[in-house]
């Protein structure tokens, strides 16, 4: 364990470091950083799909920040995403805890069983829920079949609703989220818990004062792993959300669609999303790291 912590003592290849990093960094510069800069250019009309010369303008930004429908949609998506991330982390924690501490010999097999659905197709798992929740779907026809509901009165709110979007997103991310929590619990020194118990702490006290704080980095990582993709989500809402499940990501995607393209507004919305997500990620990541250093 930890044999190779350090770098080579004699870094004969120091000159080669640019050679190693050059290609990956150039790739990201060309196809990741420059594209985002171009989004920035579109957001202020430095570039535009409308031909001709344009003066630079902050109109797109002003429109967004002054009580447009877009801000409302943004908060709605934030709320949906926060609820999904929170619920999923709370649900995944006991699963990871079970795997890490139940002493079962097959914990890696069980972990794999838990994670495997995540590695299968995303769209097809959304499809499964479409089949299940539709008004002519599995749940409704099953309820009719066993006589719990009349055929003229299906539960229509199941599909094409905010609830459907949140349920499907939770379903999709749940398997994956147990992983970072499991990793942080696995590395926990169980002697700490034994010491706490020797000193008279109950299991709950030991959990609240030792296990929970020490697994915080895993919890934060898990939360971010769901929050980042779900807050900008547009695929699931477009398949199971209907109008009430429409999210901020759908708006961005639609502004670049074929219907009524408005690349300036779309660019502003995209950068605004980035401007919220990235600092949040940095702050959270830093909090969880200081947490790790402190112990």
């Amino acid at each position: 364990m930890g044999r190779g912590e350090g770098q080579l003592k004699r870094p004969r290849l120091d000159l080669a470091t640019p050679g190693l990093l050059g290609l990956p960094l150039a790739w990201l510069a060309a196809f990741f950083i420059v594209p985002i800069a171009i989004v920035g250019a579109y957001s202020v009309d430095a570039l535009s799909i409308v031909p001709g010369k344009h003066p630079l303008t902050l109109d797109g930004w002003r429109d967004l920040l002054h009580g447009s429908v877009y801000l409302g949609l943004f908060w709605k998506s934030m709320k949906m995403s926060l609820v999904v991330s929170g619920v999923v982390v709370v649900l995944a924690y006991p699963l990871a805890y079970f795997l890490a501490f139940s002493g079962t010999k097959r914990k890696y097999v069980l972990l794999l069983i838990l994670i495997a659905p995540f590695l299968t197709s995303y769209l097809l798992r959304v499809l499964a829920w479409k089949v299940i929740l539709g008004s002519q779907g599995v749940v409704n026809t099953f309820l009719v079949w066993i006589g719990l509901r009349s055929p003229d009165d299906p539960i229509s709110a199941l599909l094409y609703s905010r609830f459907a979007v949140m349920l499907v997103l939770a379903y999709i991310w749940l398997p994956f989220v147990a992983l970072p929590i499991f990793v942080s619990l696995e590395s926990l020194d169980t002697r700490l818990l034994e010491a706490a118990s020797d000193l008279g702490a109950t299991r709950w006290q030991a959990f609240l004062r030792i296990t929970l704080p020490l697994s915080l980095p895993g919890i934060v990582a898990a939360f971010l792993f769901i929050f980042i993709p779900t807050v900008g989500e547009f695929v699931t809402p477009s398949l199971v959300g209907g109008t009430s499940g429409y999210m901020y990501g759908n708006q961005i995607s639609d502004l670049f669609g074929t219907g009524f393209p408005d690349w300036r507004t779309g660019s502003v919305l995209a950068l605004f999303l980035l401007a919220v997500v990235v600092p949040l990620t940095v702050v959270f990541a830093r909090v969880s790291r200081t947490e790790r250093v402190a112990h």
Binding site: R3, G4, E5, Q7, R10, P11, R12, L13, T17, L20, L23, P24, W27, L28, F31, F32, V34, P35, I36, I38, V39, L47, L91, P94, L95, Y97, F101, S102, I113, P117, L119, T120, S121, L123, L124, R125, L127, W129, K130, I132, Q136, V138, T141, W145, T190, S197, R203, A206, L224, P229, G232, V235, L239, G249, I252, S253, L271, L273, L274, V278
Partner: protein, 272 residues
């Protein structure tokens, strides 16, 4: 006494765990059930066994084309991501240089971008430079997405390998390339395989970014998304779903089992 779990707590968590597993697999099982159901609508009660839907999709040339395109995109982008990821990982794990934290932040930054933002950014890039959207533009996007995952797999693996092995190779006169090829590469091969597989599955399943940069040759997720909007094609799509999900489950589980076995034989992980 177990300081982490009481016997009752363990029982409770076990019940919860298996309840969640049922919740995760039930929708997949329902797809399986309806893929053999002799009705255009997936409704209860079931109306008899059929293989029509499987037969139908085997003969669907548009679907086959989409699967082939996706396979091509997945292989090309995984090879690209693993190559770039290996270069970057060797630098991050083995070299001391200034700005290491910043470099690693840049290399991992695609992890924190919502895909809709990256998708439109790539669209604008290709539009600005007048690049036709095609298979290549999707490959470019998928390499960016997969690169951080390959680094996350490879760096920890490289850090586990004893640096003295490499120093010994240098002392015996091996150059940097032979050292890498003869000492490091064989030891990280299982991790490279894992990284390749992660990139492969990521790309094969990627819809959001591809939807903005795909050309006339559509990938499998793009095809699926289109098919999902036509109820009459639903049963066929369900049959495809069952096949794809089964194959990917088998590949993932097989690869994981294989990797553990190989790494144990190489003695590079502690037997668990």
């Amino acid at each position: 006494m177990d300081a982490a779990l009481s016997p009752n707590g363990r029982r409770l968590l076990r019940v919860l765990f298996f309840a969640v597993v049922v919740f995760l697999y039930a929708p997949i099982a329902i797809l399986l059930l309806f893929s053999f159901n002799d009705s255009v609508l997936p409704t209860f009660p079931l109306s008899g066994f059929t293989l029509t839907w499987y037969r139908q999709f085997v003969h669907d040339s548009e679907l086959r084309g989409a699967l082939e395109t996706s396979a091509l995109v997945a292989v090309l982008s995984s090879v690209g991501a693993v190559l770039l990821g290996t270069l970057a990982s060797v630098a991050l794990a083995r070299r001391r240089f200034r700005g290491r934290a910043a470099v690693s932040a840049v290399l991992l930054s695609p992890l924190v971008i919502p895909y809709v933002v990256f998708g439109i950014a790539l669209l604008l890039l290709f539009h600005t430079f007048g690049v036709q959207r095609s298979v290549a533009t999707v490959v470019i996007g998928h390499i960016v997405i997969s690169l951080p995952y390959t680094i996350l797999v490879l760096v920890p693996r490289l850090q586990q390998i004893d640096v003295e092995l490499e120093e010994a190779a240098y002392d015996l006169g091996a150059g940097p390339f032979s050292t890498f090829r003869l000492v490091v590469l064989p030891l990280i091969l299982p991790a490279i395989f894992s990284a390749f597989l992660i990139a492969l599955t990521t790309s094969f399943d990627e819809y959001a970014v591809a939807s903005f940069v795909v050309g006339t040759r559509i990938t499998f997720p793009i095809y699926l998304y289109g098919a999902l909007r036509f109820p009459s094609r639903l049963p066929e799509v369900i049959a495809v779903a069952v096949v794809v999900i089964t194959v990917s489950l088998l590949v993932v589980i097989g690869a994981e089992v294989g990797r553990r076995r190989v790494e144990r034989r190489l003695g590079v992980i502690d037997p668990v």
